[in-house]
Subunit: 244 residues, 2 copies
């Protein structure tokens, strides 16, 4: 496999950093090719704005959708966006490694989506979902949370993790990816913020890394999550009622 990791953390020595290092090393050992976008280290600019487009279809009024489409057609997409697209196009599997901040992905990763998933290029009104650009490729989100696993079930204090991840998963599905079940490292809250005592914390981190490595060892056999597709909607996009 060609594997691409989109790594999102401001601190290279963080536990997220260890997760990405584990993925690189274990996948490489298993004979896969691994590439990396380290968004913080590369200084990726996550803010979609007019200034990214050097040859605008409308120099006065900035419409992200119109400028993305135009830049794609004109071959004038921003260099960092072109680079990210080329990386994705080489990948059979894309891993997103990040800490869950405020119940969603960090701004750095959100803005990577805002800018890299280019309208008119990587999706159109017809090229979406099970007809999406990245059809046949797989994606997985691997994340850390501060809260312990117990608090992240349905109705739990930290918020139901499945519910929290649904929007980002749906975006990946929109782009055509087969979305694998997420890898969840609970109870990782940064230096001095563990819910457990130090010994228990270290043991938990070690366990997460071991579980991640063994998950990756079998990832080619993972079954993707299920999402609605074109066969499930009427012409207006409403859910079709199934006949019994």
């Amino acid at each position: 496999m060609q594997v691409h990791i989109v790594h999102v953390h401001p601190e290279s020595t963080s536990f997220n950093g260890a997760m990405t290092q584990t993925a690189r090393e274990s996948l490489t050992r298993a004979g896969h090719e691994v590439a990396l976008s380290d968004l913080y280290a590369e200084g990726f600019d996550p803010v979609e704005r007019g200034g990214h487009y050097r040859s605008r279809v409308d120099a006065k009024i900035f419409s992200p959708l119109a400028e993305q489409r135009h830049a794609h057609e004109a071959g004038s997409l921003p260099g960092d966006v072109v680079r990210e697209i080329e990386r994705l196009e080489r990948a059979d599997l894309v891993i997103f490694q990040f800490p869950l901040w405020w119940h969603q992905v960090p701004a750095m990763l959100k803005g990577w989506m805002d800018r890299v998933f280019v309208n008119g290029g990587l999706y159109t009104s017809r090229m979406r979902y099970d007809r999406g650009y990245f059809k046949g490729r797989r994606a997985i989100v691997s994340l850390t949370t501060g809260a312990p696993a117990a608090a992240m079930g349905p109705g739990g204090r930290g918020g139901d993790i499945e519910r929290l991840l649904w929007p980002v998963h749906y975006s990946l599905h929109y782009m055509g990816f087969s979305v694998l079940p997420p890898f969840l490292a609970f109870g990782v809250a940064g230096h001095g913020y563990s819910y457990a005592d130090d010994g228990d914390f270290d043991a938990l981190m070690k366990e997460h890394l071991e579980n991640w490595e063994s998950r990756l060892g079998a990832i080619e056999r993972d079954e993707p999550l299920s999402f609605p597709g074109w066969g499930d909607w009427d012409g207006e996009g409403r859910k079709l009622e199934m006949t019994v």
Copy 2:
């Protein structure tokens, strides 16, 4: 009321701009005080990183939680964060106006949350949810989507809007806000991207603005959404099973 609008769009003449203008004018006419954070216009930096902290508790390893707490305690929070907090502290009602991008808030707003909702200052392990910092204040998200309303119900093509908004609503609840039902302007996709023809599109935009103004006119009587709180969880944060 003191109302604060957090406005998030890169183009001042956008429909989101018109929504914010409508809110400012109609609330002011009704005798309320209205203030504004225009995050794009003010050049807010949404990327949480070590460089924001001029006096670090740990100069080598950057932990966002540790540096936020330290900067709060030391009175050395970044100037733009202090300004945003002061604006929020003056508000009885906070309005978030933004386009839904990739099934979530734009990176600019996500990063505002990552940076402004300061650990150790605006929340602690005990000061959260129905004991949160902004308890007694209200918040509402007002957003535009490209997809039409029909496609954004349960199982619909655009994704169930209630499900998509749950994470951002839960973050506001975490901060103690009473979260009002969202205001949803569907079918707003920027110049040249309407799902409807031009005449219908203009009529729909006018209708959205009128609906927004009348919603704001009655907003003091709005009932907040319901979220779980401290009485609903056991000590580990699991949902308590209710006795019948």
